[in-house]
Amino acid sequence: MKKEAKNTARYTTKGEQRFVNCTLSGPVHIYVKEGEIVRVTPLFYSNDDGEPWTLKARGRTFTRPNKGALACWVHGLKQYVYTKHRLLTPLKRVDFDPDGKRNPQNRGKSGYEPIRWEEALNIVTKEIIRLKREYGPSAIAVTGSSHGTWGNIGYRMSALDRFWNLVGCTWIDHDPDSWEGFFWGAMHQWGFYWRLGQPPAYDLLEETFKHTDMIVFWGADPNNTSGDYGWNENDNWRFHMKKLGIKFVFIDPFCNYTAVISADKWLTPRPGTDCALALAIAFVWITEGLYDKEYVKTHTYGFEKWKAYVLGEEDGVPKTPKWAEEISGVKARDIIALAREWGTKRTTLAAGGRSGMGHPGRAAFGHEWARMMVLLITMQGLGKPGVNMYSTTSGAPADWGFYFPGYADGGISGGSSGPRELGPRGFPDRPVQGQIRQRINRSVFPEAVTEPPVTWRGVYGFYGQSAQQQFAKFTFPFEGYSAIKMLYRQGSSYIGTMMDTNRWVRMYRHPNLEFCVNQTIFNEPEARLSDIVLPVCTNLERWDIGEWARISGYSLHLSPVNARVIVLQQKCIEPLGESKSDYQIFTLLAERLGVKEQFTEGRDELQWVKRMYEISDLPKVISWEEFQKKGYYVVPVKKDYKPRQAFRWFYEDREMDTWDWGPGIVDRPVNNKKGLATPTGKIEFESQTLKRFDPDDKERPPVPHYIASWEGHTTAELLRKYPLQLISPHPRFSFHSQFDAKGLWNDEIAHHRRLKDGYRYWVVRMNPEDAQRRDIADGDIVRIYNDRGAVLAIVTVTHRIISGVVHSFSSGGGYDPMGEPGDPKTIDRGGTINQVTSSRFISQNCPGMAPGSCLVEIEKWRGGSD
């Protein structure tokens, strides 16, 4: 026998402690030995976790998997905790002196020195007091990053909101930038303002298994966007759909990650022409009678106006397949074939991920695409068995009667959607409302600082209160309130996700901004643009509680996962270095500002966690002691579970029977439980809210139109200079800028970054023809540029992107200027692709982002800094 192994003790995990935690992309077990993380594994469900649900359809069964699927970066959490990019002490910019020269122009250039917490907190406190005295609290602008680290207590809508609502500030509102088109468009066709325009997906997994013949994935890449926090959790569903014989058609200029493993057909419209394709499909249906005429008659409003536009009676241009071929590049005969199949088979439309995410809706007039998506599926009888709007990333059986809040319910703040369900349960003891009416839309924040006044429509972008709220016009500063003098940033660096990123860099370096603080985990681009940096620990170094993927609020029950897993997020290790949790930092600041008791209600984090446990339904099923020991609870699906499919009640003209919050009574004349939240209670081909707002709006008319992009294949002059259309969908191998460019293991994935000459470059994908024409080979470093900026990237040559279009993921986190920060001529080596996207609104009245409408040129880069 082998003697090598004989005399040495075998390794065993017995000496390790195993903790439970939850992340942005799955629940995990964390193994710890002597205070250090050994490994991170998925959660395996046991027999104690209840019987898994099974769906039977077409002679096959699908049973809930026995483990939670993770995103790859979650398996890399250990490196996320121990990377050298962690901030371990508070930092002060070396040439920032709050009592002397502040040198804002040096932000992004100067170095930093470690300082003690005491000094950092004193500077921040003193500045808050000074600014409130001199300008009032509205001079302080505050925002967290989207997503952040998981947990209902530590989340930005919880601790950050509570603290700053107590202190007073101007909130920077995020808007639904992942599904702009659905928010600014679809909402006006079918209501769902409380869902920010997106449709519900109740029980549509079983529905699809049972009844669907074909799914059209339009600008949708579910393996990539996957309904946010589920990541690889629902890939098995699509494999099962393929086994059942469901055909998958993809419409996307990029042969996306779902398409390359499952497409039966890939159709490739030029970016910005999806509406032409949609209109031609409607043309075939109308002219060949291939739509549900009865449904249109009984369930919709204004069809004749749509029909008149489609047939060309309105504008003299019939929207024929030939017409659409010339615009989109998709062959007329393929359009006809698709329209006929769709019009005769039970077809589900996946319009963007979840639904809604995807580049067609994040582009010039992206709302017109989203509106047409609603109208197409409506023409086929939305709600009929097998006919629905469903991205295949949610809708598994789940008991939504079991109460546990999501992060959008506002946690300890009592704000956000909190008043709806947390409030009546007495959480928190004393909710804290913001007292400052002034707010600012994030997409215009740089200009609000550097060149006020700025004007836009719609406040509370992420709070769906009514369809009308997006029409209200605002000018910043609000009358009587202060301009912005200070910025307080919590969470990861998000400038890489913002259009025309250089605007943000210039804002950071502007003298109007007297003081800026960044409270974050990593030494990352936005931290390096601040005056004081406060080091935050990860969610493995503090207590919290949260349900996997649970947003609630504006994304009610859109759960991309197989099981409701509620996790006690255990503190696994002590915070690294001198880092502290967000909650602790706010507590220390609150103490200095005299509001500690109001902020904490006398609770530490674990006590807040226990309080949330108490007001949820958890005590009915698991004791606090047992919950602490086990660390999670899987909400079982009841044996007598009866599916209540999204839209089925509407289709069958019944009262709504799903778990949905709406339709409420706010936007509808009559509280008729049978209708949708539109003025007519029906799906509106001619939107009555838009008609009321401005019947002559050329950019968002009452009936949706194809409108050529302001920056696209028809803008001839610009096209001569910048002949390539850039699309930049959500990244697949990082969570936006989070988990990118921090020395993590996903940086070694060639789809994400590629190593060349010691630097990990962001990837841009080019068709062989486009590459060859520019003498570019796979693996070359190139400069992607236009008038707004210049970025270096590494080329992957692939047939997966059509000629004339290039693809690069949006929202990298590695901004790395090779010259003066913020100068459009300065090359960003870090691959922040949004350096070149436009900050123009998706249309004049809709301050959404339009990264999908972007022209660039690409050339081989031969060194040098400009």
């Binding site: 090598e4 050994v38 390359v260 006809i336 074939a337």
Partner: protein
């Protein structure tokens, strides 16, 4: 006896890279002696993913993700190339590089025809996948890469146990190995390694419309006959073909029958748009 093996069904690999990163999670910063020293933070891929992009037709691209790692060969060339018994095959079939005896033996990196041995500069040591032997010895039922897979496209088990899942899978379907020409008797088996395909698009010439549901027959010169029909876009595809000479025929009622001679080489073959002429 025990003979550990892994089966990877590429039809279910989604290219999520969890396996690659789970391996790093297990081995970076952790020594598991006497099985292995820790892995460097970057640059080693004890399991990595090789991708093959095939253009089946202009409207269909297929990517096959192939997780690649040490094959734990029954006749491992690295064992022979090692001096001093520095690489050994355990009785359960797992091939281990002894982290002490192998110090300095850089030649072992070249000894693996699969490129699955990596050089650890700092430790002066060749390293590779161990099938997570330290965990298997501790009673774990699968190595980290297998455990991490969201679609369970990888299965680990004992080939000498006829009731193991790997044995059953390989009894049902013929497992393939990468580079059988290396003759090393790998214990890593695959389903769905990329093969050639033949595809085309059929159009009714008189209507300029996609010709759906047209019967298509394929005959191989080397023997074999297959049938399919076009989908509603007029597309047909014969998947998983060997290279060779083929005859493909289209027979749509009311249109002239067409026969094409086609040579399928090592990769995909798209014969283009076939225009059917009306026989009326």
């Amino acid at each position: 006896m025990t003979r550990y093996a892994v089966v990877r069904d590429l039809n279910y690999c989604i290219g999520c890279y969890n396996c690659q990163i789970a391996c790093k999670d297990e081995h970076v910063r952790n020594d598991f002696l006497p099985i292995t020293k820790s892995q460097p933070t970057f640059g080693h891929f004890w399991i990595g993913i090789k991708e093959v992009e095939q253009v089946i037709s202009p409207s269909r691209i297929k990517v096959t993700y192939i997780p690649v790692s040490c094959q734990h060969c029954s006749e491992a060339p690295c064992v022979k190339a090692a001096r001093n018994g520095a690489i050994y095959r355990r009785p359960d079939g797992i091939v281990i590089i002894d982290p002490v005896k192998a110090i300095g033996q850089k030649q072992l990196v070249e000894a693996c025809p699969y490129g699955s041995i990596f050089w650890n500069e700092e430790e002066n040591l060749p390293q590779k996948c161990t099938f997570c032997a330290h965990l298997v010895d501790d009673g774990w039922t699968e190595p980290r890469c297998v455990q991490s897979c969201p679609t369970n496209c990888m299965i680990f088990g004992d080939l000498d146990d006829p009731n193991s899942k790997v044995s059953k899978l390989l009894a049902e379907r013929k497992g393939e190995v990468r580079h059988p020409e290396f003759n090393t008797k790998p214990n890593v088996f695959y389903f769905g390694l990329p093969k050639s395909s033949l595809s085309g698009t059929i159009i009714y010439g008189d209507k300029n419309e996609c010709a759906g549901e047209v019967p298509v027959t394929l005959t191989a010169q080397a023997g074999g006959k297959w049938e399919t029909q076009t989908d509603f876009f007029g597309d047909f595809v014969f998947d998983r073909l060997d290279a060779g000479e083929y005859t493909v025929g289209f027979d749509a009622p009311g249109y002239h029958r067409q026969i094409h001679e086609v040579t399928v080489k090592g990769d995909t073959c798209y014969i283009g748009e076939i225009i059917l002429r009306s026989s009326k």
